[in-house]
């Protein structure tokens, strides 16, 4: 917990505020990553159910959204129940998601002709309840729309995952605009694990937690989703010094 060592007065105040806010702010369920370093940074110790989470790619990933989609699929695979995947550009190759632990019988695809329909469908699915997670691939996510999604998710306790992918790499600075998402992540590809023989090892990602409500930003080198959709912290950052500072893509 982040507030574990906060002093007594503050925790008492917090309790009183929670009491005033009523049942809406009851303790939320979370989905932990199972990686202590990441979970400690997230309030509640994981990705909150009943909230919107946003994933974007870095570099060329802003356009293809491959890493962000697989990261979202890994999160969705670890939830329980059906997954609804809303999209407008059907270029997802499902065998890759199946390799991240998402069984094809668990996913329902909803394909729309345009972006606005994708958001409307996501809202409908989030408000319906009874699904494990709702994933949407979006270009634009304005503040009002994201707040609607966030509220719909809060109402039913369904997890909303937004995969952001833009048409051009230059449009990706749109990610700087604020949204109502509870957590915002940027996942970019990193060179894979070195093998002693020629070949491509386990894929690695550079994972940036850009924003989290009631928490601080962080960045990690992680190993890509395994067959159960789990990531692990890569030892790589210890092997090689990484310059402290912002992402290589945010300059």
């Amino acid at each position: 917990m982040v507030y574990g060592d906060a002093n007594l007065v503050i925790s008492e105040l917090r309790e009183r505020i929670q009491h005033l806010e009523g049942p809406s702010s009851r303790r939320k369920k979370v989905l932990p990553f199972g990686v202590p370093d990441i979970d400690d940074r997230l309030p509640g110790g994981g990705l909150a159910y009943g909230a919107l989470h946003e994933f974007a790619g870095g570099g060329a990933g802003t356009v293809d959204g491959a890493v962000a989609a697989l990261f979202a699929a890994g999160v969705a695979a670890r939830t329980r129940g059906q997954i609804v995947w809303c999209l407008a550009r059907p270029d997802l190759f499902f065998p890759a998601l199946a390799q991240a632990g998402l069984h094809p019988s668990r996913v329902i695809f909803v394909e729309s002709a345009n972006e606005d329909d994708v958001i409307a469908n996501m809202e409908e699915c989030l408000g319906y309840g009874g699904v494990g997670a709702v994933v949407g691939e979006l270009v634009r996510l304005p503040m009002t729309k994201s707040r609607r999604l966030q509220l719909a998710a809060e109402k039913t306790g369904t997890m909303g995952l937004v995969v952001r992918r833009w048409r051009r790499q230059t449009e990706a600075n749109d990610f700087g605009q604020p949204t109502a998402a509870t957590t915002r992540w940027r996942v970019s590809v990193a060179p894979s694990v070195e093998l002693p023989v020629p070949g491509v090892g386990r894929a690695q990602w550079f994972l940036e937690l850009m924003r989290v409500k009631a928490g601080e930003c962080a960045e990690y080198f992680v190993g890509a989703c395994d067959a159960k959709g789990r990531i692990n912290l890569s030892t790589r950052s210890a092997d090689r010094p990484y310059q402290a500072g912002r992402s290589i893509y945010s300059r």
Binding site: A60, D64, A66, P95, A96, V110, L195, A203, W205
Partner: protein, 446 residues
């Protein structure tokens, strides 16, 4: 042409007597089938056609072009040749379907005059005697007739010509009276005072649904497709269709489906009659639910599929297909189909995004089976730091003869920044018969 002349021209001609009653019965059967399939308002356009009001119903078939080709293909599969036309009015569609040589015609909105002015008079749905007399007077096309002053024509032939022309150009309404059978479950309500407010419509649709469900319950049926037909004061009709993925008798659920569609209803000067028809029904038996000891069941999300489907979104699942060719290894299946347990078995990683059409790249590689040292994709050069492969995929000769020798060699390549691509070479690099040795990008890894 007399039968004797035809027999003289064509040796061994088989002659069958016309059977108008059997034809009419068959046409009615097809019409009823179309009622459940395409549109809530379908009628027989005697003696040889079917007329449908597809406005607001085409999106369920993927739009107008897909719908008309779909209809034509359905008929061809039954060894029947059909002509399909969509136009603004019944008259125009009737004429275009019969005059054209093409299988399908779609007349754009507002282009009716241009589409029909050159068509012969016989397409105007007039009696043969009037058409014959008009020919005698020298009229040949619909355009010529419509440009002639009405008064002398009406004096000579009566009001029929003017009415048919106005119907064709949409100047007077021609409502389609939908076909009905006695076993169709239908409930309706007539209003003494026309209604128009949204809440009022909701309320009465709710009452109708309760009555319809009670009737369905009595017969042990569940509804798959329900039509709401709105009769307005000015004699026009509007139809709203709601479909469900599984047979249903859930009142709240049907109410919700029609509430979603309410904004498409235009009350105009007021609604005087609401009719609810269960167009397609399927048996729905009561099932006893055993209480689960271990774990609660996952909630049924069929209603969600219905909402999205009625909005015109494509809702589907994917299922594995036993094929090594990546494009063919995934099939789309209906969202409510049986849950399959099998999944893809791959020992190699697969890319998250698969390009719809492989992208041609330039590659520098040592033949025959080394991965490229560098590739140029979309004008950007990428130095290959690491690579895996080849994974050889053979053509499927049982699908297409041309694939007998075809081979693709897939490689996973990784660039300096860690970007990973799935590329392949056509051919095995030795035998030119197996492929052209060109390189392509086919997918993007995460």
């Amino acid at each position: 042409m007399p039968a004797a002349k035809a027999q003289a021209i064509f040796h061994g001609l088989m002659l069958v007597d016309a059977d108008p009653t059997a034809d009419a019965a068959a046409l009615e059967r097809i019409t009823l089938w179309a009622l459940g399939q395409y549109s809530p308002v379908v009628a027989v356009d005697a003696p040889d056609g079917i007329v449908m009001d597809t406005e607001g119903a085409d999106h369920l078939q993927g739009g107008e072009p897909l719908m008309v080709t779909g209809i034509a293909n359905r008929f061809r599969a039954k060894k029947l040749s059909a002509r399909v036309a969509i136009a603004d009015t019944w008259g125009a569609a009737h004429a275009c379907a019969r005059a054209t040589r093409d299988e399908t015609v779609i007349v754009p909105i507002g282009e009716t005059v241009r589409a029909v002015e050159r068509l012969p008079l016989a397409m105007l749905r007039l009696s043969p005697k009037i058409v014959g007399d008009l020919h005698t007077l020298g009229f040949k096309t619909i355009g010529e007739l419509s440009a002639t002053p009405r008064a002398p024509l009406a004096l000579r032939f009566g009001p029929e010509i003017g009415r048919r022309l106005d119907q064709m150009f949409g100047r007077i309404r021609e409502p389609i009276d939908p076909i009905r059978t006695p076993d169709l479950i239908e409930v309706s309500r007539v209003f003494g005072e026309p209604i128009g407010a949204a809440e009022t419509i909701d309320k009465y649709v709710g009452y109708l649904i309760i009555r319809l469900v009670a009737e369905l319950q009595r017969q042990g049926l569940g509804v798959r497709r329900t039509d709401l037909i709105v009769g307005k004061v000015d004699g026009t009709r509007q139809a709203v269709r709601a479909g469900t993925a599984k047979p249903s008798r859930d009142i709240a659920w049907l109410k919700k489906l029609f509430r979603d569609k309410r904004e498409t209803i235009e009350p105009g000067f007021g609604i005087e009659k609401l009719t609810l028809v269960a167009v397609r029904t399927e048996p729905l038996e009561e099932v006893q639910k055993a209480s689960a000891l271990v774990d609660e069941d996952l909630p049924d999300i069929t209603p969600l599929i219905d909402i999205l489907g009625n909005r015109g979104q494509r809702v589907y699942r994917v299922a594995p297909v036993a094929s090594d060719v990546p494009e063919r290894s995934v099939a789309r299946i209906a969202a409510t189909s049986e849950i399959a347990t099998e999944t893809w078995v791959h020992h190699w990683p697969r890319p998250v995004r698969l390009l719809a059409k492989p992208d041609r790249i330039d590659a520098i590689a040592l033949m025959p089976d080394y991965p490229p040292a560098s590739i140029t994709w979309r004008g950007r050069k990428m130095k290959v730091m690491r690579a895996d492969g080849p994974e050889r995929v053979f053509g499927e000769w049982w699908r297409r003869d041309g694939e007998l020798d075809a081979v693709r060699d897939y490689f996973i390549v990784e660039g300096e920044g860690g970007e990973r691509l799935w590329i392949f070479r056509r051919g095995d690099g030795v035998d030119p018969a197996t492929g052209s040795r060109e390189w392509f990008v086919h997918g993007i890894f995460a």
